[in-house]
Symmetry: C2
Subunit: 353 residues, 2 copies
């Protein structure tokens, strides 16, 4: 059934029925959640953190290769990632949806499924939001509230700190490039794929002039990282982290943000930028530079942080050290020792193409 035939009130009832868990209310200090003018809750004793992110159809997501489930999951994750980048734990979600009247109810249900999966994964509760309608493109927006004992800002880096990044970068960007090149039937297979454990078939890529196959299971981590990224968490290292950001617009662009806010420079050893074998394999297959994807690809949702290197060594942090914070100089150094300027290249809305 189309949403236009269901009506706002019944949709709100459905959301309320689905996401209001009375057992959670007491534990979390929720006085009132969905269903009043505003949510009310007892404040935490720690510092409060609030972040918000909007996803606009055709700009931030493309329904030809993104399922509503993926979208719901990702919308929560990207906000949780922002809270994590402040050293925080996410507690509450506020969800705003603007869908078209002719949108099918199944879209709405699957989107909620994705949101619910993420809430469960991060131990959060949905306690408010807004429902609007759209004439053209759909828009989803989320606000996440969290808290931390020690807020970590972008501005705390000092010359001499090591620069660390969790896991690998470039996977999500490479996954997106694969999806863009994928034949419709393969896109459909990927859209139905909701669980990382489930195997993927061979996928068909097309470059306009011909078709080729790629092993679905080999590129699974890349597709997963784009479609339903899990937010990272380095709270065990919090006492020692001097600055942090989540990599959403590209590793170099986000590193430059740390430098800008901290009033420093940075030196990056290109051969230390962590990349996955899957990404190297797939980028090679589609003729893209893996390093390019890793340093400016965007949507990694990895955490980029700084820490005194002696502390990092002592703690055995387990994340790649890609360079160090400098007084002023911003450079990259390749394997042969060649230096180049470190440039803030990455994605920006309204940006020059």
């Amino acid at each position: 059934m189309q949403l236009g035939m269901i009506g706002e009130l019944r949709l709100l009832e459905e959301i309320r029925r689905r996401f209001s868990d009375p057992s959670q209310k007491r534990d979390r200090g929720i006085i009132v959640g969905i269903g009043d003018d505003a949510a009310a809750f007892t404040p935490p004793l720690e510092t409060m953190l609030v972040t918000t992110d909007m996803m606009h159809e055709g700009v931030d997501f493309d329904l030809s290769y993104t399922s509503p489930f993926h979208l719901g999951f990702k919308l929560v994750s990207v906000n949780v990632s922002d809270i994590a980048a402040m050293g925080g734990r996410s507690s509450f979600l506020f969800l705003t949806m603007s869908m078209k009247g002719d949108t099918d109810e199944i879209f709405f249900t699957k989107f909620c499924d994705g949101v619910a999966r993420a809430l469960q994964q991060y131990g959060m509760a949905l306690i408010g939001g807004d429902l609007s309608s759209a004439r053209n493109d759909m828009v989803f927006s989320a606000t996440v509230i969290g808290n931390t004992g020690k807020p970590v800002l972008r501005s705390g880096a000092s010359a001499g700190d090591g620069v660390y990044v969790t896991y690998v970068t470039g996977d999500a960007a490479c996954g997106l490039e694969l999806l863009k090149r994928m034949a419709p039937e393969s896109r459909e297979a990927v859209k139905k794929w909701l669980d990382y454990e489930v195997p993927l078939p061979d996928l068909i890529l097309t470059d306009g002039s011909g078709f080729s196959k790629i092993d679905g299971n080999r590129v699974k981590p890349l597709l997963a990282r784009h479609l339903m990224p899990a937010a990272r968490d380095v709270r065990d290292l919090l006492p020692h982290i001097t600055s942090m950001i989540d990599v959403s617009d590209g590793l170099f662009m986000d590193l430059c943000r740390i430098c800008d806010e901290s009033g420093t420079g940075a030196k990056v050893y290109l051969d230390k930028v962590p990349m996955s074998d899957s990404m190297k394999f797939a980028s090679d297959r589609i003729g893209l530079s893996s390093l390019e994807l890793a340093v400016s690809g965007g949507e990694d949702y990895e955490l980029l942080f700084t820490m005194p290197p002696d502390v990092a060594e002592r703690l055995d942090v387990g994340h790649a050290c890609i360079g160090e914070i400098t007084e002023k100089e911003r450079i990259t150094i390749d394997k042969s020792g060649r230096k180049a300027a470190l440039k803030a290249e990455g994605y920006q809305h309204f940006g020059p193409a």
Copy 2:
């Protein structure tokens, strides 16, 4: 200059320059506002309130008679109104904007002017948000955080309580009907009108077959109520208010929400519904029922609350008592004593037209 030529980073810088007031940071317990992954602030000691609202072009606003200044102001107001309906005071705004690449910079500046005016009026600070781009319709979304010593829920009404509403209802809906019927040159005059003190010229209305004039200053309160509604505040009555809601979708629909949540009925005396003379005059001129506009018009942003009538009388609340909460029965009674069913009629997204 178009936003697409300016770029996201410069727009963000502009927002940050404009809305980051270092003197406010200390006073409000802001640790970090705009410019990090999330905003961080010291929690209040009182109950926290959070609300969010999205406005989608073509659905929630029409740029042919709404200026960007009005839009910015209203977006903040409607959220502040939700916080007020919980008995709260608003502190922080998070603002999300999705505009088109070919949107003129002036639109952005004027929108920010409207937001700034509202922030000043309500004593709030903008401490975060998100900037996205849109292919078609623009979307603006806001999250407002406030606090209260006593959260007032929709669910607290009891049989016997009086039903009160601040000021008058129907003004905003009537203002919207006037704007819809207004000739383009009059719409332009209204769009340039940013200050209530400034007089308005005669306005030209058109019904398709002909034109007529209406005194701009006489209908000024109606246009103002639609274009830039001020949020109401009844915090001086808080200790005695048993339930509250802000009237956004229509007086009767929102009263029914109080009844639904409180498990009660309500009786409304139609001749007690407060209406302004301007609204009665203008609705008559355009052939609409003033009572109809007042009970189901929507976007009033008045506060509808319940309170024991003896307390209200003793305090001299200064707001219209339109009826009382009943055990179960939901009825309206007109001047001649005729009863009819109280129906939840008002605006809903995705609703049957």
